[in-house]
Every structure is written in C-alpha cells, then in structure tokens.
C-alpha cells in the first residue's frame, strides 16, 4: 500500500513538473530559446498568491486568478523587453540574457520580501481521500494537482489543434520563414506562447506551494531546472513529451526518495536523464521527421 501512495505522490509531483515543462517546451519549440527565467515566474506567482491571500485576505481562488494575470503580463513583458530585441542574435546571447532575467526576478523578490521563508497557505481545500479502509490516503492537493494537469493538457491540445492561433504556433515551430509567408505574425505568435507558458507557471506555482508550503525567492529555481530536465527527457518541443517526461521524473524522484535515499534522489533523477539522452538524444517523444527534398 505504501508503494501505491509513493507512486501517487510521485505522479502528483510529476504533474507539477509537467505543467512547468510545458512552458519550457512550448517556448523552445516556437522561439528556439531556453527561457531559464521560467522557473522564477513560478516563484513570482507564489508571492502574488501569498500577498493576495495571506496579506490582503482575498479568497484563494481570487489569489490564483490574480497570479495568473500577473504572470501572463510579466512573461509577455520579459519577452518584449529582454528577448525580442535579440531575435536573430546568437543563441548563447539569448541564453545568458535568460539567466540574467532569472537573477533579476530572484533579487527583486529578495528586495521586496526578504530571504526568510514564508508560510504559504494551501489554495486547495479538498478533504483527503481514504481508500482501502484507511490504509491508503490521498491528500486533496494531490488529487487537485493531477486533475489540473489533465485538464491543462486536454485544454492545450484542443487549443493547438482546433484554433487558428494554435495552428499558427505549430507552423512557426516548424518553419518561421514559411509561417511568415502564410501571413502569420511570428512576433505575435511568440508573445502568445510566452503568455500561455507564464499563465501555466502561475498555476504550477499555486500547486507547488500548496504541496510544499514554504516560499522563498529561490522556490522556483530547483523545480524550474527539474522541469527543464523533464522537457528534455520527454523530447524538448513536444507537448506530450513534457507530460510524459514530467510524470516520469516525479515518479522516479519520489520512489528513489522512498526506497533508495532522500539525499541522493536528485542525483538519481539527473543520472536517469544522462542515460536517456545517451540512448535517445532527442528524448522519449523527440521528433525525427524524415523530410524529402
């Protein structure tokens, strides 16, 4: 029974990674850049919810909504100010800028909120589920996290396959030049991608802080890196890949914490990544398109 409980908690943690990984993978797929500031958007989302709920006394759902809006605006603004001027610059320049933005967000939060950890009040008020006569208990946060991940996945797939802007995103991710020739505004498509990724980061922030209720300016950094690993693991640029990579990573992390060593769990996660990349350099769902010329 305890195995099942570890597994479910792993899937829940993995769902958070998956939601964050979506932001990495979509931005990479469409703008061909690694947005290393993405993890810190999660932290910003966490602090917005904290301020709304704990300081100003709004209901948790209002806090989440405000965080989604704030992070969306922030993400689009970062893209506009920091990344858009570098379109066409070397990918190394863009990468360094992204790391700079990440430090900027962390230090801005440090300046405003200080370095002391804040106690985050969970935004989820769902009672836990007792199964098998109380032997297996699934917490409300766990259930809500997994459910949210499923809803986001389904919503995103529908958005991409059924809407015009979704199809434009696919076109830009395949060939920016050809997309321009279709009349697609590439800059606008990239901005929309950042907006979606950042909104998802806010939701991930709410779920992450509800699961691990301690909030500091560095809260987003480790989950951000792990979600990046998950995105690479699943095949960066692929949306189903982000889901599979995220869930697998969460499960591996939780099971190694339970059965091997809680200190070594991160090392094991990264070791698995190295092995996967040695065997499949494009990741699990990595695209191998055979093009006829």
């Amino acid at each position: 029974m305890s195995f099942l409980s570890y597994l479910i908690n792993g899937i829940s943690l993995g769902s958070i990674y998956a939601i964050i990984a979506l932001g990495y993978t979509m931005v990479y797929g469409i703008a061909r850049m690694l947005n290393f500031a993405h993890g810190d958007i999660i932290m910003v989302g966490g602090f917005v919810i904290f301020t709304c709920v704990s300081t100003m006394g709004f209901p948790p759902l209002v806090g989440v909504l405000v965080a989604v809006i704030a992070c969306t605006v922030l993400g689009v603004m970062i893209e506009r100010v920091a990344y858009k001027p570098l379109r066409g610059a070397s990918s190394l320049a863009v990468l360094i800028t992204a790391i700079g933005v990440s430090y900027l967000l962390q230090n801005a939060a440090l300046l405003i909120f200080g370095s002391n950890a804040r106690q985050f009040t969970s935004v989820v008020n769902v009672p836990s589920l007792k199964l098998a006569g109380g032997a297996l208990s699934i917490s409300g946060v766990t259930m809500v996290t997994i459910l949210t991940c499923i809803i986001i996945m389904a919503g995103l797939m529908t958005f991409i396959n059924k809407t015009k802007i979704g199809q434009a995103m696919l076109a830009v991710s395949e060939d920016t030049g050809a997309a321009t020739l279709m009349g697609i505004d590439v800059n606008r498509t990239i901005a929309v991608t950042f907006a979606i990724g950042s909104a998802l980061a806010a939701i991930a922030g709410a779920l992450l802080c509800s699961t691990y209720p301690s909030l500091t300016p560095y809260t987003g950094s480790m989950p951000g890196i792990k979600a990046f690993v998950a995105a690479v693991f699943g095949g960066i640029g692929s949306i189903p890949g982000a889901l599979i990579g995220g869930i697998l990573l969460g499960v591996i992390e939780n099971l190694s914490k339970a059965y091997i060593s809680s200190q070594l769990s991160d090392a094991i996660v990264f070791a698995v990544l190295i092995v996967v990349l040695l065997v499949r350099p494009t990741g699990i769902m990595g695209k191998k398109i055979t093009e006829k010329v």
Partner: protein, 237 residues
C-alpha cells in the same frame, strides 16, 4: 499600370552586395521569368519582394503602394503569395492543415472552402492525400501542396521560386502546365524564378536575365529564347 514594380533595388548580406540595383516590372496577367545561374540573386530578389529580407536601397511598388518597408506577413492579405525554394511545406502537419494555414489571413469561411474545392480540382492528388502528413509526400506532391497552399490565400500575384527543382521530368511538365492554368484560368499574375530556363521561357511572356546581382538582359521570352548569348549560357545549346 504594373502590378509590381521594382526600382533600383539593392540588397546586402553583411558587407556582400547580393543585388546591385535592379529594376523590373510585372504587369497584371503576365507570367514573368527571372532566369540566371546559381548565385545570381534570383531567390534573394524574391525574398526581398515578399519581405523576408530587408533591402538597403530602392523601392518595391505593389498596386501603386510602396511595400518596401511592410513586414512580410502583412503582404499576404494584400494579395501576394510566395511559394518558396525547396517548397518548405510543414512536414509534421497534414496536407489539409497545410492548406488551411495558407488561408490564415482569410476571414470568410465559405469563400475559403470554395477555394479549397477549386484547389482539390486543380490538384486531385492533394484531395486524395489530405489527411497524410505532408512530410511523407513525394517531391512533386510537395510542390503541388506548396502551390495549393499559396493559392489558398487567393492571391493576385504568385511568386514561385524554383518550382521544378529536384523533380522528375514528368512532374516538371505537370507543374508548368499548372502554372499556366493558374495564370490563364484563374487570372493570377506570376513571377517565376527558374534554373530550368528553357521551360521558364516557354511559358513566360517576358523574362529578365540576372547575372551576379544585375539584370544583364531583358525582353520578350520568345526573343530571349532565340538570343545567341542566352542560348549559349542558359539553354545549353
């Protein structure tokens, strides 16, 4: 009045000048061919017209309006469609998804579906393969898809870059027949870049010969076909 007028166009790649002040015009209903050797600047010229590459000097006038500084994605709804070199279909998307992306700028769903039917009539193979990933099509089919996709925007001017490249002779003939039909039956003006000068001159009204970024010769396509220097350099006779 010309539908497209290029005046003293100059384009640079870094410090290297690819286009050295070329001027030419395309009149409504014409098929105009730009021919020349590799590296003469044919593709660069087309990409500058459709806003993919910025120009350094000169003007591009389309239907009386200066479009030199208008970003490429806005030209599609103005009636310019570009079929790029190497076709560049969206390989991971189906044929139908590619065609719908061609109509990205169109608002009227009904008219768009009518255009789709028309394109299926012109390219029956695309209808047969509409649910197939376009990366799995043959080169000739991909060329048809690239042309169909461009026609989905209902253009007044279609710009074709090397449509015969890498195709078998049967497909080359088929593609050139279709270009003529698009021009004569649908009334679309055609600006065509080709290395296959013989084929291009055989369907064009007029042609310009590009040599290292300059226009070396121009005139009636029939006359150019009989020109000794053209024969020698481009028609391998």
């Amino acid at each position: 009045m010309a539908i497209l007028e290029v005046k003293n166009l100059e384009v640079f790649y870094g410090v290297i000048q690819a286009i050295k002040g070329i001027s030419f015009e395309v009149n409504p209903g014409e098929i105009i061919a730009l021919i020349g050797a590799n590296g003469a600047g044919k593709t660069t010229t087309l990409q500058t017209i459709t806003g993919l590459i910025p120009s350094k000097a000169g003007q591009i006038i389309y239907e009386g309006q200066d479009i030199t500084k208008i970003p490429g994605h806005k030209l599609v709804s103005m009636g310019i469609a570009h079929v790029p070199e190497g076709r560049r279909v969206f390989a991971g998307l189906t044929v139908l998804q590619n065609l719908y992306l061609g109509a990205y700028t169109r608002k009227d769903k009904k008219e768009m579906e009518d255009t789709l039917e028309m394109i299926y009539e012109r390219f029956p193979r695309l209808k047969e393969r509409r649910d197939q990933l376009s990366g799995t099509l043959s080169g000739g089919e991909q060329q048809m898809l690239a042309m169909g996709r461009a026609l989905m925007s209902h253009p007044k001017l279609i710009v074709l870059d090397e449509p015969s490249m890498g195709l078998s002779p049967i497909y080359v003939n088929e593609i050139f027949d279709i270009i003529q039909k698009i021009n004569q039956d649908d009334g679309v003006t055609v600006l065509l870049v080709e290395q296959n000068a013989k084929k291009a001159l055989s369907i064009a009204d007029r042609a310009y010969v590009l040599e290292t970024g300059k226009i070396a010769l121009s005139g009636d396509a029939q006359a150019l076909m009989n020109d000794d220097s053209v024969k020698k350099a481009y028609l391998s006779e």
